[in-house]
Symmetry: C2
Protein backbone atom coordinates (compact mmCIF):
# COMPACT_ATOMS: atom_id res chain seq x y z
CA UNK A 1 0.00 0.00 0.00
CA UNK A 2 1.10 3.56 -0.73
CA UNK A 3 2.68 5.39 2.18
CA UNK A 4 1.60 8.82 3.29
CA UNK A 5 3.86 11.77 2.55
CA UNK A 6 5.02 11.97 6.17
CA UNK A 7 5.90 8.25 6.25
CA UNK A 8 7.88 8.56 3.02
CA UNK A 9 9.65 11.67 4.25
CA UNK A 10 10.60 10.15 7.61
CA UNK A 11 11.75 6.99 5.88
CA UNK A 12 13.93 8.98 3.50
CA UNK A 13 15.39 10.97 6.40
CA UNK A 14 16.25 7.75 8.24
CA UNK A 15 17.75 6.21 5.13
CA UNK A 16 20.07 9.18 4.55
CA UNK A 17 20.71 9.72 8.26
CA UNK A 18 19.96 13.45 8.41
CA UNK A 19 16.84 15.67 8.25
CA UNK A 20 18.16 18.01 5.58
CA UNK A 21 16.85 19.50 2.39
CA UNK A 22 18.78 21.39 -0.29
CA UNK A 23 17.00 24.48 -1.52
CA UNK A 24 17.42 25.07 -5.23
CA UNK A 25 17.18 28.82 -5.89
CA UNK A 26 19.40 29.34 -8.95
CA UNK A 27 20.32 32.81 -10.18
CA UNK A 28 22.30 33.09 -13.42
CA UNK A 29 24.74 35.66 -12.06
CA UNK A 30 25.78 33.31 -9.26
CA UNK A 31 26.44 30.27 -11.44
CA UNK A 32 30.02 28.95 -11.65
CA UNK A 33 32.13 30.48 -14.41
CA UNK A 34 32.59 26.98 -15.87
CA UNK A 35 28.91 27.14 -16.83
CA UNK A 36 28.34 30.81 -17.66
CA UNK A 37 31.53 31.05 -19.72
CA UNK A 38 30.70 27.96 -21.75
CA UNK A 39 29.68 29.08 -25.26
CA UNK A 40 26.37 27.25 -24.99
CA UNK A 41 25.43 29.14 -21.84
CA UNK A 42 27.18 32.47 -22.23
CA UNK A 43 24.35 34.95 -22.86
CA UNK A 44 22.53 36.32 -19.84
CA UNK A 45 20.41 38.48 -22.12
CA UNK A 46 18.67 35.54 -23.79
CA UNK A 47 16.05 33.78 -21.70
CA UNK A 48 16.47 30.44 -23.44
CA UNK A 49 20.23 30.45 -22.93
CA UNK A 50 19.73 31.64 -19.35
CA UNK A 51 17.33 28.88 -18.45
CA UNK A 52 19.54 26.26 -20.13
CA UNK A 53 22.46 27.44 -17.98
CA UNK A 54 20.33 27.36 -14.84
CA UNK A 55 19.05 23.87 -15.65
CA UNK A 56 22.56 22.56 -16.35
CA UNK A 57 23.60 23.90 -12.94
CA UNK A 58 20.56 22.47 -11.14
CA UNK A 59 20.99 19.05 -12.73
CA UNK A 60 24.56 18.91 -11.52
CA UNK A 61 23.52 20.10 -8.05
CA UNK A 62 20.90 17.36 -7.86
CA UNK A 63 23.43 14.75 -8.99
CA UNK A 64 25.93 15.93 -6.34
CA UNK A 65 23.56 16.07 -3.37
CA UNK A 66 21.30 13.07 -4.13
CA UNK A 67 23.52 10.47 -2.42
CA UNK A 68 23.62 12.46 0.82
CA UNK A 69 20.26 14.12 1.41
CA UNK A 70 16.64 12.92 1.56
CA UNK A 71 15.01 15.96 -0.03
CA UNK A 72 15.31 18.98 -2.27
CA UNK A 73 13.16 22.10 -2.33
CA UNK A 74 12.82 23.80 -5.71
CA UNK A 75 11.62 27.40 -5.64
CA UNK A 76 9.40 28.07 -8.64
CA UNK A 77 10.14 31.83 -8.68
CA UNK A 78 13.61 31.20 -10.04
CA UNK A 79 12.07 29.31 -12.97
CA UNK A 80 9.00 31.51 -13.48
CA UNK A 81 11.56 34.24 -14.08
CA UNK A 82 12.24 32.51 -17.45
CA UNK A 83 8.57 32.41 -18.51
CA UNK A 84 7.31 29.23 -20.21
CA UNK A 85 10.79 27.74 -20.77
CA UNK A 86 11.44 28.19 -17.08
CA UNK A 87 8.24 26.35 -16.20
CA UNK A 88 9.24 23.50 -18.47
CA UNK A 89 12.57 23.41 -16.66
CA UNK A 90 10.92 23.47 -13.24
CA UNK A 91 8.85 20.37 -14.00
CA UNK A 92 11.84 18.65 -15.63
CA UNK A 93 13.87 19.14 -12.48
CA UNK A 94 11.06 17.77 -10.31
CA UNK A 95 11.08 14.71 -12.55
CA UNK A 96 14.85 14.29 -12.40
CA UNK A 97 15.00 14.70 -8.63
CA UNK A 98 12.16 12.19 -8.20
CA UNK A 99 14.04 9.71 -10.39
CA UNK A 100 16.95 9.99 -7.97
CA UNK A 101 14.57 9.01 -5.15
CA UNK A 102 14.66 12.45 -3.62
CA UNK A 103 11.59 13.83 -1.87
CA UNK A 104 10.77 16.97 -3.85
CA UNK A 105 9.17 20.05 -2.31
CA UNK A 106 7.81 22.65 -4.73
CA UNK A 107 8.33 25.99 -3.02
CA UNK A 108 5.44 27.89 -4.60
CA UNK A 109 3.85 29.69 -1.61
CA UNK A 110 0.49 29.85 -3.38
CA UNK A 111 -2.68 31.02 -1.66
CA UNK A 112 -5.94 31.88 -3.41
CA UNK A 113 -9.70 31.49 -2.95
CA UNK A 114 -11.23 28.01 -3.16
CA UNK A 115 -12.12 27.60 -6.81
CA UNK A 116 -8.74 29.06 -7.81
CA UNK A 117 -6.87 26.99 -5.23
CA UNK A 118 -8.26 23.91 -6.98
CA UNK A 119 -6.44 24.94 -10.15
CA UNK A 120 -3.22 25.62 -8.25
CA UNK A 121 -3.47 22.22 -6.55
CA UNK A 122 -3.95 20.53 -9.93
CA UNK A 123 -1.01 22.40 -11.45
CA UNK A 124 1.43 22.36 -8.57
CA UNK A 125 0.83 19.30 -6.39
CA UNK A 126 -1.10 16.66 -8.34
CA UNK A 127 0.53 14.53 -10.97
CA UNK A 128 -0.65 15.90 -14.33
CA UNK A 129 -4.04 14.57 -15.40
CA UNK A 130 -3.48 15.20 -19.11
CA UNK A 131 -2.93 12.27 -21.47
CA UNK A 132 -0.11 14.06 -23.27
CA UNK A 133 1.78 14.82 -20.05
CA UNK A 134 1.66 11.41 -18.41
CA UNK A 135 5.44 11.29 -18.09
CA UNK A 136 5.37 14.30 -15.74
CA UNK A 137 5.02 14.09 -11.97
CA UNK A 138 4.12 16.80 -9.50
CA UNK A 139 6.34 17.40 -6.48
CA UNK A 140 5.76 15.41 -3.26
CA UNK A 141 4.74 18.53 -1.37
CA UNK A 142 4.32 22.29 -1.82
CA UNK A 143 4.50 25.35 0.40
CA UNK A 144 1.31 27.40 0.89
CA UNK A 145 0.41 30.80 2.33
CA UNK A 146 -2.27 30.90 5.09
CA UNK A 147 -3.60 34.46 4.70
CA UNK A 148 -6.89 33.32 3.10
CA UNK A 149 -7.51 30.55 5.63
CA UNK A 150 -8.62 27.00 4.97
CA UNK A 151 -10.22 27.66 1.56
CA UNK A 152 -6.75 28.14 0.06
CA UNK A 153 -5.52 24.88 1.58
CA UNK A 154 -8.37 22.40 1.22
CA UNK A 155 -7.94 21.50 -2.48
CA UNK A 156 -4.31 20.65 -1.75
CA UNK A 157 -5.39 18.33 1.07
CA UNK A 158 -7.68 16.51 -1.34
CA UNK A 159 -4.64 15.88 -3.55
CA UNK A 160 -2.55 14.99 -0.50
CA UNK A 161 -5.08 12.30 0.39
CA UNK A 162 -5.55 10.86 -3.08
CA UNK A 163 -1.91 11.03 -4.20
CA UNK A 164 -0.09 10.59 -0.88
CA UNK A 165 1.40 14.07 -0.97
CA UNK A 166 1.87 16.90 1.51
CA UNK A 167 1.85 20.64 2.16
CA UNK A 168 3.88 23.01 4.33
CA UNK A 169 1.95 26.07 5.48
CA UNK A 170 3.88 29.29 6.12
CA UNK A 171 3.60 29.89 9.86
CA UNK A 172 6.68 31.86 10.92
CA UNK A 173 9.11 32.89 8.19
CA UNK A 174 12.77 33.91 8.39
CA UNK A 175 12.76 37.20 6.49
CA UNK A 176 13.46 40.48 8.33
CA UNK A 177 9.90 41.85 7.96
CA UNK A 178 8.20 38.55 8.89
CA UNK A 179 7.05 39.96 12.21
CA UNK A 180 5.00 42.79 10.71
CA UNK A 181 2.01 40.44 10.41
CA UNK A 182 3.14 37.18 12.01
CA UNK A 183 4.08 38.67 15.40
CA UNK A 184 0.91 40.70 15.94
CA UNK A 185 -0.48 39.74 19.33
CA UNK A 186 -4.15 39.09 19.99
CA UNK A 187 -6.11 39.61 23.23
CA UNK A 188 -5.41 36.02 24.30
CA UNK A 189 -1.67 36.75 24.13
CA UNK A 190 -1.15 34.56 21.06
CA UNK A 191 0.57 35.87 17.97
CA UNK A 192 -0.84 35.56 14.47
CA UNK A 193 1.78 32.86 13.82
CA UNK A 194 0.49 30.91 16.83
CA UNK A 195 -3.09 31.25 15.57
CA UNK A 196 -1.98 29.95 12.18
CA UNK A 197 -0.19 27.11 13.99
CA UNK A 198 -3.44 26.08 15.69
CA UNK A 199 -5.17 26.08 12.32
CA UNK A 200 -2.36 24.00 10.81
CA UNK A 201 -2.68 21.48 13.64
CA UNK A 202 -6.41 21.28 13.11
CA UNK A 203 -6.28 21.10 9.30
CA UNK A 204 -3.79 18.25 9.56
CA UNK A 205 -5.55 16.31 12.30
CA UNK A 206 -7.90 14.41 9.99
CA UNK A 207 -6.95 10.73 10.43
CA UNK A 208 -6.78 10.27 6.64
CA UNK A 209 -3.81 12.63 6.60
CA UNK A 210 -1.83 11.04 9.44
CA UNK A 211 0.87 8.50 8.65
CA UNK A 212 1.96 5.46 10.63
CA UNK A 213 4.79 7.64 11.94
CA UNK A 214 2.20 9.87 13.65
CA UNK A 215 2.95 12.91 11.52
CA UNK A 216 0.45 14.62 9.23
CA UNK A 217 0.62 15.47 5.55
CA UNK A 218 0.10 19.07 6.72
CA UNK A 219 3.44 20.50 7.79
CA UNK A 220 4.57 24.01 8.68
CA UNK A 221 7.30 26.41 7.60
CA UNK A 222 8.90 27.60 10.83
CA UNK A 223 11.85 29.93 11.27
CA UNK A 224 14.52 28.73 13.71
CA UNK A 225 15.70 32.26 14.48
CA UNK A 226 13.91 32.55 17.82
CA UNK A 227 14.13 29.20 19.68
CA UNK A 228 11.46 30.20 22.23
CA UNK A 229 8.95 30.82 19.46
CA UNK A 230 10.01 27.66 17.65
CA UNK A 231 9.50 25.60 20.82
CA UNK A 232 6.06 27.13 21.34
CA UNK A 233 5.09 26.34 17.74
CA UNK A 234 6.52 22.81 18.11
CA UNK A 235 4.13 22.28 21.05
CA UNK A 236 1.15 23.75 19.16
CA UNK A 237 1.64 21.48 16.12
CA UNK A 238 2.63 18.08 17.53
CA UNK A 239 1.76 16.23 14.31
CA UNK A 240 3.31 18.68 11.84
CA UNK A 241 6.68 18.18 10.24
CA UNK A 242 8.50 21.54 10.27
CA UNK A 243 10.21 22.73 7.13
CA UNK A 244 12.93 24.93 8.61
CA UNK A 245 14.58 27.47 6.33
CA UNK A 246 17.29 29.93 7.23
CA UNK A 247 20.23 27.58 7.83
CA UNK A 248 23.49 28.97 6.42
CA UNK A 249 23.13 32.03 4.23
CA UNK A 250 20.18 33.33 6.27
CA UNK A 251 22.21 33.00 9.48
CA UNK A 252 20.75 30.10 11.50
CA UNK A 253 23.13 27.52 12.95
CA UNK A 254 22.56 23.86 13.76
CA UNK A 255 22.05 24.76 17.44
CA UNK A 256 19.39 27.30 16.46
CA UNK A 257 17.26 24.69 14.71
CA UNK A 258 17.20 22.27 17.68
CA UNK A 259 13.94 23.65 19.06
CA UNK A 260 12.16 22.62 15.84
CA UNK A 261 12.77 18.93 16.60
CA UNK A 262 11.03 16.67 19.09
CA UNK A 263 13.13 14.97 21.77
CA UNK A 264 13.29 11.81 19.63
CA UNK A 265 15.06 13.77 16.89
CA UNK A 266 12.14 13.69 14.43
CA UNK A 267 9.70 16.38 13.32
CA UNK A 268 11.80 18.77 11.25
CA UNK A 269 13.45 19.02 7.86
CA UNK A 270 16.10 21.74 7.76
CA UNK A 271 16.65 23.48 4.46
CA UNK A 272 19.79 25.24 3.23
CA UNK A 273 19.95 26.88 -0.15
CA UNK A 274 22.60 29.44 -1.05
CA UNK A 275 25.15 28.22 1.53
CA UNK A 276 25.23 24.87 -0.28
CA UNK A 277 24.54 25.51 -3.95
CA UNK A 278 26.93 28.47 -4.03
CA UNK A 279 29.53 26.92 -1.68
CA UNK A 280 32.21 27.77 -4.29
CA UNK A 281 31.73 31.44 -3.33
CA UNK A 282 32.69 30.59 0.27
CA UNK A 283 36.36 31.11 1.13
CA UNK A 284 36.35 28.02 3.35
CA UNK A 285 35.58 25.73 0.43
CA UNK A 286 37.50 27.75 -2.15
CA UNK A 287 40.64 27.21 -0.10
CA UNK A 288 40.02 23.46 -0.08
CA UNK A 289 39.09 22.93 -3.70
CA UNK A 290 39.93 26.14 -5.58
CA UNK A 291 37.83 26.32 -8.73
CA UNK A 292 36.47 22.77 -8.53
CA UNK A 293 32.99 24.07 -7.77
CA UNK A 294 31.29 20.70 -7.63
CA UNK A 295 33.67 19.53 -4.91
CA UNK A 296 32.87 22.68 -2.92
CA UNK A 297 29.15 21.92 -3.19
CA UNK A 298 29.64 18.28 -2.24
CA UNK A 299 31.74 19.19 0.79
CA UNK A 300 29.28 21.86 1.95
CA UNK A 301 26.47 19.33 1.58
CA UNK A 302 28.40 16.73 3.62
CA UNK A 303 29.18 19.32 6.31
CA UNK A 304 25.50 20.29 6.45
CA UNK A 305 24.50 16.62 6.83
CA UNK A 306 27.08 16.05 9.58
CA UNK A 307 25.95 19.17 11.42
CA UNK A 308 22.29 18.18 11.37
CA UNK A 309 22.98 14.54 12.26
CA UNK A 310 24.21 15.78 15.64
CA UNK A 311 21.24 18.08 16.23
CA UNK A 312 18.61 15.53 15.32
CA UNK A 313 20.06 12.68 17.38
CA UNK A 314 17.50 11.58 19.99
CA UNK A 315 17.99 13.58 23.20
Amino acid sequence: VAQTFADRLLHAIRAKGAPVCIGIDPVYDNLPAEITEHPEFNDAGDSEVGVDAVLEFCRRIIRIVAPFVPAVKINSAFFERYYSEGIDGYYQLIQEAAEKDLIVIGDVKRGDVGHTAELYAAAHLADPSFDNLDELVGPDAVTLSPYLGFDAVKPFLDVARSDQKGVFILVKTTNPSAGEIQDLVGPDGSTVAEHVARHVAQWGSDPSLIGECGYSAVGAVVSPKDPTTAAKLRALMPQAVFLVPGYGAQGASAADVAACFKPDGTGALVSASRSIIYAYENMKYLEMYASEWEKCVEQACKDFVADLKKVSAPR
Copy 2:
Protein backbone atom coordinates in the same frame (compact mmCIF):
# COMPACT_ATOMS: atom_id res chain seq x y z
CA VAL B 1 6.09 62.13 -19.27
CA ALA B 2 4.90 58.68 -18.24
CA GLN B 3 1.92 58.60 -15.92
CA THR B 4 1.84 56.61 -12.71
CA PHE B 5 -0.27 53.47 -12.58
CA ALA B 6 -2.95 55.19 -10.50
CA ASP B 7 -3.20 58.10 -12.95
CA ARG B 8 -3.52 55.72 -15.90
CA LEU B 9 -6.10 53.63 -14.09
CA LEU B 10 -8.23 56.61 -13.06
CA HIS B 11 -7.99 58.03 -16.57
CA ALA B 12 -9.13 54.72 -18.06
CA ILE B 13 -12.04 54.55 -15.60
CA ARG B 14 -13.12 58.07 -16.54
CA ALA B 15 -12.80 57.31 -20.26
CA LYS B 16 -15.03 54.23 -20.01
CA GLY B 17 -17.35 55.79 -17.44
CA ALA B 18 -17.32 52.98 -14.87
CA PRO B 19 -14.84 51.57 -12.32
CA VAL B 20 -15.16 47.96 -13.41
CA CYS B 21 -12.80 45.15 -14.18
CA ILE B 22 -13.56 41.82 -15.82
CA GLY B 23 -11.89 38.87 -14.10
CA ILE B 24 -10.67 36.22 -16.51
CA ASP B 25 -10.72 32.85 -14.73
CA PRO B 26 -11.39 30.37 -17.54
CA VAL B 27 -12.16 26.71 -16.82
CA TYR B 28 -12.47 24.34 -19.79
CA ASP B 29 -15.62 22.65 -18.49
CA ASN B 30 -17.44 26.00 -18.37
CA LEU B 31 -16.59 27.11 -21.89
CA PRO B 32 -19.42 27.51 -24.41
CA ALA B 33 -20.25 24.38 -26.39
CA GLU B 34 -19.47 26.31 -29.57
CA ILE B 35 -15.83 26.22 -28.49
CA THR B 36 -15.49 22.86 -26.73
CA GLU B 37 -17.41 21.00 -29.46
CA HIS B 38 -15.30 22.50 -32.21
CA PRO B 39 -12.99 19.75 -33.56
CA GLU B 40 -9.92 21.89 -32.90
CA PHE B 41 -10.81 22.28 -29.23
CA ASN B 42 -12.68 19.10 -28.41
CA ASP B 43 -10.29 17.17 -26.16
CA ALA B 44 -10.25 18.07 -22.48
CA GLY B 45 -7.68 15.34 -21.86
CA ASP B 46 -4.95 17.02 -23.90
CA SER B 47 -3.32 20.04 -22.29
CA GLU B 48 -2.40 21.69 -25.57
CA VAL B 49 -5.94 21.40 -26.90
CA GLY B 50 -7.30 22.54 -23.53
CA VAL B 51 -5.18 25.65 -23.42
CA ASP B 52 -5.98 26.48 -27.05
CA ALA B 53 -9.68 26.30 -26.21
CA VAL B 54 -9.22 28.48 -23.14
CA LEU B 55 -7.21 31.03 -25.10
CA GLU B 56 -9.78 31.16 -27.90
CA PHE B 57 -12.44 31.86 -25.28
CA CYS B 58 -10.36 34.50 -23.47
CA ARG B 59 -9.51 36.31 -26.70
CA ARG B 60 -13.17 36.55 -27.55
CA ILE B 61 -14.02 37.71 -24.02
CA ILE B 62 -11.39 40.44 -24.26
CA ARG B 63 -12.70 41.51 -27.66
CA ILE B 64 -16.27 41.68 -26.32
CA VAL B 65 -15.55 43.61 -23.12
CA ALA B 66 -12.77 45.95 -24.32
CA PRO B 67 -15.11 48.69 -25.63
CA PHE B 68 -16.96 48.92 -22.31
CA VAL B 69 -14.51 48.42 -19.45
CA PRO B 70 -11.22 50.02 -18.39
CA ALA B 71 -9.52 46.91 -17.02
CA VAL B 72 -9.24 43.14 -16.99
CA LYS B 73 -7.78 40.92 -14.28
CA ILE B 74 -6.22 37.68 -15.48
CA ASN B 75 -5.76 34.99 -12.85
CA SER B 76 -2.55 33.08 -13.53
CA ALA B 77 -3.74 29.91 -11.74
CA PHE B 78 -6.08 29.12 -14.62
CA PHE B 79 -3.12 29.21 -17.01
CA GLU B 80 -0.51 27.61 -14.71
CA ARG B 81 -2.91 24.68 -14.73
CA TYR B 82 -1.72 24.07 -18.34
CA TYR B 83 2.00 24.10 -17.49
CA SER B 84 4.35 25.90 -19.88
CA GLU B 85 1.77 26.26 -22.67
CA GLY B 86 -0.53 27.89 -20.17
CA ILE B 87 2.16 30.36 -19.17
CA ASP B 88 2.75 31.24 -22.81
CA GLY B 89 -0.98 31.82 -23.12
CA TYR B 90 -1.10 33.97 -19.98
CA TYR B 91 1.53 36.37 -21.33
CA GLN B 92 -0.09 36.37 -24.79
CA LEU B 93 -3.38 37.44 -23.26
CA ILE B 94 -1.69 40.22 -21.28
CA GLN B 95 -0.22 41.42 -24.56
CA GLU B 96 -3.54 41.26 -26.40
CA ALA B 97 -5.44 43.05 -23.65
CA ALA B 98 -2.77 45.76 -23.49
CA GLU B 99 -3.05 46.23 -27.25
CA LYS B 100 -6.75 46.94 -26.74
CA ASP B 101 -5.77 49.70 -24.28
CA LEU B 102 -7.08 47.77 -21.31
CA ILE B 103 -5.37 48.12 -17.96
CA VAL B 104 -4.22 44.58 -17.15
CA ILE B 105 -3.98 43.20 -13.63
CA GLY B 106 -2.08 39.94 -13.19
CA ASP B 107 -3.83 38.12 -10.36
CA VAL B 108 -0.87 36.12 -9.06
CA LYS B 109 -1.09 36.60 -5.26
CA ARG B 110 2.63 35.98 -4.86
CA GLY B 111 4.47 36.51 -1.58
CA ASP B 112 7.99 35.31 -0.83
CA VAL B 113 11.16 36.46 0.97
CA GLY B 114 13.13 39.39 -0.45
CA HIS B 115 15.62 37.78 -2.81
CA THR B 116 12.87 35.52 -4.18
CA ALA B 117 10.37 38.37 -4.43
CA GLU B 118 12.86 40.08 -6.76
CA LEU B 119 12.54 37.18 -9.18
CA TYR B 120 8.75 37.22 -8.93
CA ALA B 121 8.72 40.97 -9.59
CA ALA B 122 10.92 40.50 -12.65
CA ALA B 123 8.73 37.68 -13.97
CA HIS B 124 5.29 38.96 -13.10
CA LEU B 125 5.30 42.76 -13.07
CA ALA B 126 8.28 44.09 -15.04
CA ASP B 127 8.37 44.08 -18.80
CA PRO B 128 10.72 41.23 -19.80
CA SER B 129 14.39 42.23 -19.76
CA PHE B 130 15.49 39.52 -22.19
CA ASP B 131 16.52 40.46 -25.74
CA ASN B 132 14.57 37.56 -27.22
CA LEU B 133 11.34 38.49 -25.44
CA ASP B 134 11.22 42.20 -26.19
CA GLU B 135 7.78 41.91 -27.76
CA LEU B 136 6.31 40.81 -24.39
CA VAL B 137 4.95 43.17 -21.77
CA GLY B 138 4.20 42.52 -18.11
CA PRO B 139 0.79 43.42 -16.71
CA ASP B 140 0.15 46.93 -15.37
CA ALA B 141 -0.28 45.63 -11.83
CA VAL B 142 -0.28 42.42 -9.82
CA THR B 143 -1.91 41.16 -6.64
CA LEU B 144 0.35 40.27 -3.70
CA SER B 145 -0.02 38.47 -0.37
CA PRO B 146 1.06 40.37 2.80
CA TYR B 147 1.86 37.47 5.15
CA LEU B 148 5.66 37.99 4.89
CA GLY B 149 5.50 41.76 5.35
CA PHE B 150 7.30 44.42 3.37
CA ASP B 151 10.15 42.19 2.12
CA ALA B 152 7.70 40.42 -0.20
CA VAL B 153 6.43 43.73 -1.56
CA LYS B 154 9.48 45.98 -1.93
CA PRO B 155 10.91 44.53 -5.18
CA PHE B 156 7.52 45.09 -6.81
CA LEU B 157 7.53 48.73 -5.69
CA ASP B 158 10.92 49.18 -7.34
CA VAL B 159 9.36 47.98 -10.60
CA ALA B 160 6.26 50.10 -9.94
CA ARG B 161 8.50 53.18 -9.71
CA SER B 162 10.70 52.45 -12.72
CA ASP B 163 7.98 51.10 -15.03
CA GLN B 164 4.94 53.08 -13.82
CA LYS B 165 3.15 49.99 -12.59
CA GLY B 166 1.18 49.04 -9.48
CA VAL B 167 0.33 46.39 -6.89
CA PHE B 168 -2.80 45.39 -4.99
CA ILE B 169 -2.09 43.86 -1.58
CA LEU B 170 -4.56 41.32 -0.19
CA VAL B 171 -6.10 43.02 2.84
CA LYS B 172 -9.58 41.54 3.30
CA THR B 173 -10.64 38.78 0.93
CA THR B 174 -14.09 37.52 -0.02
CA ASN B 175 -13.73 33.78 0.54
CA PRO B 176 -15.68 32.05 3.36
CA SER B 177 -12.60 31.29 5.49
CA ALA B 178 -11.02 34.74 5.02
CA GLY B 179 -11.73 35.66 8.63
CA GLU B 180 -9.66 32.83 10.12
CA ILE B 181 -6.56 35.01 9.95
CA GLN B 182 -7.77 38.40 8.66
CA ASP B 183 -10.38 38.96 11.42
CA LEU B 184 -8.12 38.11 14.37
CA VAL B 185 -8.29 41.03 16.79
CA GLY B 186 -5.27 42.53 18.54
CA PRO B 187 -5.08 44.21 21.94
CA ASP B 188 -5.66 47.61 20.33
CA GLY B 189 -8.97 46.34 18.94
CA SER B 190 -7.71 46.31 15.35
CA THR B 191 -8.02 43.24 13.19
CA VAL B 192 -5.14 41.71 11.24
CA ALA B 193 -6.75 43.12 8.08
CA GLU B 194 -6.67 46.61 9.63
CA HIS B 195 -3.01 46.16 10.56
CA VAL B 196 -2.26 45.11 7.01
CA ALA B 197 -4.21 48.17 5.82
CA ARG B 198 -1.97 50.46 7.89
CA HIS B 199 1.08 48.81 6.34
CA VAL B 200 -0.39 49.21 2.86
CA ALA B 201 -1.02 52.91 3.52
CA GLN B 202 2.54 53.34 4.74
CA TRP B 203 4.19 51.29 1.95
CA GLY B 204 2.30 53.35 -0.60
CA SER B 205 2.90 56.74 0.97
CA ASP B 206 6.29 57.34 -0.64
CA PRO B 207 5.82 60.41 -2.86
CA SER B 208 7.48 58.62 -5.79
CA LEU B 209 4.52 56.24 -5.83
CA ILE B 210 1.72 58.85 -5.69
CA GLY B 211 0.11 60.03 -8.88
CA GLU B 212 -1.29 63.44 -9.75
CA CYS B 213 -4.70 62.00 -8.88
CA GLY B 214 -3.53 61.57 -5.28
CA TYR B 215 -3.70 57.78 -5.35
CA SER B 216 -0.73 55.49 -4.82
CA ALA B 217 0.67 52.67 -6.94
CA VAL B 218 0.05 50.52 -3.86
CA GLY B 219 -3.58 49.45 -3.82
CA ALA B 220 -5.51 46.94 -1.75
CA VAL B 221 -7.78 43.98 -2.35
CA VAL B 222 -10.85 44.61 -0.18
CA SER B 223 -13.99 42.52 0.12
CA PRO B 224 -17.26 44.47 -0.10
CA LYS B 225 -19.17 41.86 1.89
CA ASP B 226 -19.17 43.80 5.17
CA PRO B 227 -19.71 47.52 4.45
CA THR B 228 -18.66 48.58 7.98
CA THR B 229 -15.28 46.88 7.56
CA ALA B 230 -14.91 48.25 4.03
CA ALA B 231 -15.59 51.79 5.29
CA LYS B 232 -13.03 51.37 8.07
CA LEU B 233 -10.44 50.11 5.58
CA ARG B 234 -11.33 52.96 3.20
CA ALA B 235 -10.47 55.42 5.99
CA LEU B 236 -7.23 53.62 6.88
CA MET B 237 -5.94 53.65 3.28
CA PRO B 238 -6.93 57.06 1.86
CA GLN B 239 -4.42 56.86 -1.01
CA ALA B 240 -5.03 53.25 -2.01
CA VAL B 241 -7.20 52.22 -4.92
CA PHE B 242 -9.31 49.25 -3.83
CA LEU B 243 -9.59 46.24 -6.09
CA VAL B 244 -12.97 44.89 -5.04
CA PRO B 245 -13.78 41.28 -5.90
CA GLY B 246 -16.95 39.38 -5.13
CA TYR B 247 -19.44 41.17 -7.36
CA GLY B 248 -21.88 38.78 -9.03
CA ALA B 249 -21.03 35.09 -8.63
CA GLN B 250 -19.57 35.66 -5.15
CA GLY B 251 -22.74 37.44 -4.06
CA ALA B 252 -21.95 41.15 -3.67
CA SER B 253 -24.31 43.70 -5.20
CA ALA B 254 -23.62 47.21 -6.46
CA ALA B 255 -24.96 48.65 -3.19
CA ASP B 256 -22.55 46.44 -1.21
CA VAL B 257 -19.51 47.88 -2.94
CA ALA B 258 -20.44 51.54 -2.26
CA ALA B 259 -18.39 51.69 0.96
CA CYS B 260 -15.23 50.98 -1.03
CA PHE B 261 -15.53 54.29 -2.89
CA LYS B 262 -14.78 57.80 -1.66
CA PRO B 263 -17.60 60.37 -1.73
CA ASP B 264 -16.29 61.70 -5.07
CA GLY B 265 -16.91 58.29 -6.65
CA THR B 266 -13.20 57.39 -7.05
CA GLY B 267 -10.97 54.97 -5.21
CA ALA B 268 -12.24 51.53 -6.21
CA LEU B 269 -12.19 49.16 -9.15
CA VAL B 270 -14.88 46.49 -8.87
CA SER B 271 -14.15 43.13 -10.40
CA ALA B 272 -16.60 40.52 -11.66
CA SER B 273 -15.48 37.24 -13.13
CA ARG B 274 -17.77 34.27 -13.50
CA SER B 275 -20.99 36.31 -13.56
CA ILE B 276 -19.75 37.99 -16.76
CA ILE B 277 -17.57 35.49 -18.58
CA TYR B 278 -20.09 32.69 -18.04
CA ALA B 279 -23.19 34.89 -18.48
CA TYR B 280 -24.50 32.31 -20.99
CA GLU B 281 -25.08 29.95 -18.04
CA ASN B 282 -27.42 32.55 -16.47
CA MET B 283 -31.12 32.04 -17.25
CA LYS B 284 -31.65 35.81 -17.46
CA TYR B 285 -29.30 36.12 -20.43
CA LEU B 286 -30.13 32.73 -21.92
CA GLU B 287 -33.74 33.85 -22.24
CA MET B 288 -32.62 36.99 -24.06
CA TYR B 289 -30.09 35.51 -26.45
CA ALA B 290 -30.45 31.70 -26.27
CA SER B 291 -27.22 30.10 -27.41
CA GLU B 292 -25.58 33.29 -28.66
CA TRP B 293 -23.07 33.20 -25.84
CA GLU B 294 -21.12 36.27 -26.91
CA LYS B 295 -24.27 38.41 -26.78
CA CYS B 296 -24.94 37.11 -23.25
CA VAL B 297 -21.43 38.13 -22.19
CA GLU B 298 -21.75 41.55 -23.81
CA GLN B 299 -25.10 42.21 -22.17
CA ALA B 300 -23.86 41.08 -18.75
CA CYS B 301 -20.85 43.34 -19.17
CA LYS B 302 -23.06 46.31 -20.12
CA ASP B 303 -25.36 45.62 -17.16
CA PHE B 304 -22.33 45.49 -14.84
CA VAL B 305 -21.08 48.82 -16.21
CA ALA B 306 -24.50 50.45 -15.81
CA ASP B 307 -24.80 49.13 -12.25
CA LEU B 308 -21.43 50.48 -11.22
CA LYS B 309 -21.88 53.81 -12.98
CA LYS B 310 -24.67 54.55 -10.52
CA VAL B 311 -22.70 53.50 -7.46
CA SER B 312 -19.59 55.44 -8.34
CA ALA B 313 -21.36 58.69 -9.19
CA PRO B 314 -20.12 61.45 -6.86
CA ARG B 315 -22.29 61.58 -3.73
